[in-house]
């Protein structure tokens, strides 16, 4: 079972929900796919060890062979290679690693090198939650390759794999949602929360992933999010109130299920509801 925690708007509580759900269920794999700002381990405090490097291929031009024909630069869709009178210049951060330039070069002057854009880390030692995280190097623009590589480590051995997604609706979100069985959309009952929830609903509907909504800080705003969910027939999985105690625990990096009684069961119960929703769906 693979569950992603996502939201259009940032700061709605994805990481909080992902971590607390993983702890409540146990024997869980948790993958932090918010590789631009991975935060799950601030709450788990595992010793992490580097598992592997994430690399992308980049062109390497042999100046001896290159006759400056410019075919590579004409072919490149990303403006990552430029042919100048003085030589060919490569702009690695713009390169997607498609291999096109090497393919089109009539002189076979282009080979490929690799460069690191991020790393994958894993809990060195775990008993309850097996944490994996991706980390995009500072200054690197492309998060999706790191997310794709992290996704390859989803294991079927645990109860559940929980994916903490990045915010938004762009390509890194799609990368983190690929192959998911279910998606929990976390929102808050404000105009921004509702607007961005609708965008996120568009995403999961287009991808055909079954989903439900979790309303965080459920008492800060108005009822429009709930009314929207009812009118769209979207299950509301849980409401977490705007409790200063929860906010303070969060600020200290303490998962609230470990301090506030009753919440552990509520997460277990939510998971059971999700499983039921999925089996009803399968039966239909």
């Amino acid at each position: 079972m693979k569950i992603a925690i996502a939201s259009g708007k940032g700061g709605t509580g994805k990481t909080t929900i992902a971590v607390n759900l993983a702890i409540s269920l146990g024997n869980a794999q948790l993958l932090d796919c918010d590789v631009e700002e991975p935060n799950c381990n601030l709450f788990l405090r595992h010793d992490m060890e580097e598992f592997e490097d994430v690399t992308l291929p980049v062109p390497l031009v042999d100046k001896e062979k290159c006759d400056l024909c410019g075919d590579c630069a004409n072919f490149c869709q990303y403006n990552a290679i430029a042919s100048l009178p003085s030589g060919v210049m490569v702009f690695p951060k713009l390169c997607h690693g498609c291999g096109g330039c090497a393919l089109v070069c009539p002189e076979n002057a282009i080979t490929e090198n690799t460069r690191s854009i991020g790393i994958i880390e894993r809990s060195a030692d775990w008993s309850h939650v097996d944490l994996w995280q991706g980390l995009l190097h500072i200054g690197e623009p492309m998060a999706s390759p790191v997310i794709h590589q992290l996704q390859e480590h989803i294991s079927e051995d645990n109860n559940v794999a929980i994916i903490d997604s990045p915010p938004g609706t762009a390509c890194p979100v799609i990368a983190s949602l690929s192959g998911m069985d279910y998606c929990i959309l976390v929102t808050e009952p404000t105009p921004f929360g509702l607007h961005d929830l609708k965008l996120a609903v568009d995403v999961v509907r287009q991808l055909g992933i079954p989903f439900g909504v979790l309303i965080n800080r459920s008492d800060i705003g108005d009822s429009r999010v709930e009314e929207y969910c009812v009118s769209e027939n979207i299950p509301i999985l849980m409401k977490v109130p705007n409790n200063r105690e929860i906010a303070v625990l969060y600020s200290k990096g303490i998962p609230f299920v470990t301090s506030l009684p009753g919440w552990n069961n509520r997460f277990v119960h939510m998971f059971a509801n999700i499983c039921e929703q999925l089996s009803t769906r399968a039966a239909e």
Partner: protein, 302 residues
């Protein structure tokens, strides 16, 4: 010379849009650019009237003509993005538009087609001109759309004779953030005194020093955890960045949002008076950075 300032945070939901929209209602001569193109919210507060809408084309996508395709599999082998499946369907979410498949196809069965990836808008609000956009679902080119919004904002600044652009940035550190901060005069980083807020602040400050853009920091909800607030101040001192505002934990942002107003239109309280002082501070910094440039220019001319 038009000045540009980008509001960023690393972590989402720290108050970027609340604060940048408040600045807009304080300053007179500015253009606003909402560069959080995949979850743009500023328009909910500013209720813009559209002046101009342009279609945005991102990367092209491969299209396979099944009449011509002989299922040889060359494209499948050549595609590095696993965007073509065994039945020769193109997954438009995975395709990055590189056109390698088009090149290798011996039957000329593949063409690269333009795909509308969103829209960009130039608008007018009650506080002045605004550039914004809407990215299509799952689109690749969010950085490119951010650049489009910034170009539109510069055009609006020229047209309406404004000398400042305030850019509401996206969360994270990746392509859309890089596009939103490249070449600006200054960053205002909004953080909060939480474990995540601090971690993400550190990464954004690394990004600002990587691109050599001066930054200042504002701590929202500073009283949620005062010992973390102290740690942030220490971190900022270490990194040579000024903390220019401490905003209290307050209901004002949500209440203002529910009324579709900026915080300054909505009320006058502890929260909004700090917002005003942050703006004054920022404004002084932008003016003084302009003077520094003038002096350097003059001295280089002498």
């Amino acid at each position: 010379m038009v000045k540009q300032i980008t509001i960023v945070s690393g972590k989402g939901g720290t108050g970027k849009t609340t604060i940048s929209s408040a600045f807009v209602s304080l300053a007179n001569d500015l253009v606003i650019a909402d560069c959080d193109v995949d979850a743009a919210d500023m328009h909910l507060l500013l209720d813009p009237t559209l002046l101009k809408t342009d279609d945005f084309y991102g990367l092209k996508v491969a299209n396979i003509n099944t009449e011509l395709c002989t299922a040889c599999g060359d494209c499948l082998d050549a595609c590095r993005f696993n965007a073509i499946d065994g039945s020769f369907d193109v997954d438009i979410f995975s395709c990055e538009g590189c056109s390698v498949c088009e090149y290798v196809c011996q039957q000329n069965a593949i063409s690269m087609i333009e795909k509308k990836a969103g829209e960009s808008f130039s608008s007018m609000t009650r506080f002045g001109p605004m550039a914004h956009a809407k990215l299509g679902i799952g689109e690749e080119a969010s950085g490119k759309l951010v650049s489009t919004v910034r170009n539109n904002a510069r055009d609006l600044a020229a047209e309406f004779n404004k000398d400042l652009i305030i850019i509401d940035g996206p969360p994270g550190t990746g392509c859309s953030v890089i596009a939103a901060i490249t070449g600006v005069d200054m960053l205002l980083v909004i953080t909060e005194p939480t474990a995540s807020g601090i971690h993400d602040l550190e990464r954004v400050l690394e990004l600002s020093s990587h691109f050599r853009i001066p930054a200042a920091v504002c701590i929202n909800k500073y009283d949620l955890n005062e010992s973390n607030t102290l740690s942030i101040r220490e971190l900022c001192t270490e990194m040579g960045v000024d903390v220019i505002g401490l905003l209290p934990y307050s209901r004002t942002p949500v209440d203002a949002m529910l009324n579709e107003k900026t915080v300054l239109e909505f009320t006058d309280d502890d929260f909004t008076s700090v917002v005003r002082s942050i703006w004054d501070n920022l404004h002084d910094r932008l003016v003084s950075s302009a003077e520094t440039v003038d002096i350097t220019l003059k001295s280089s001319l002498m």
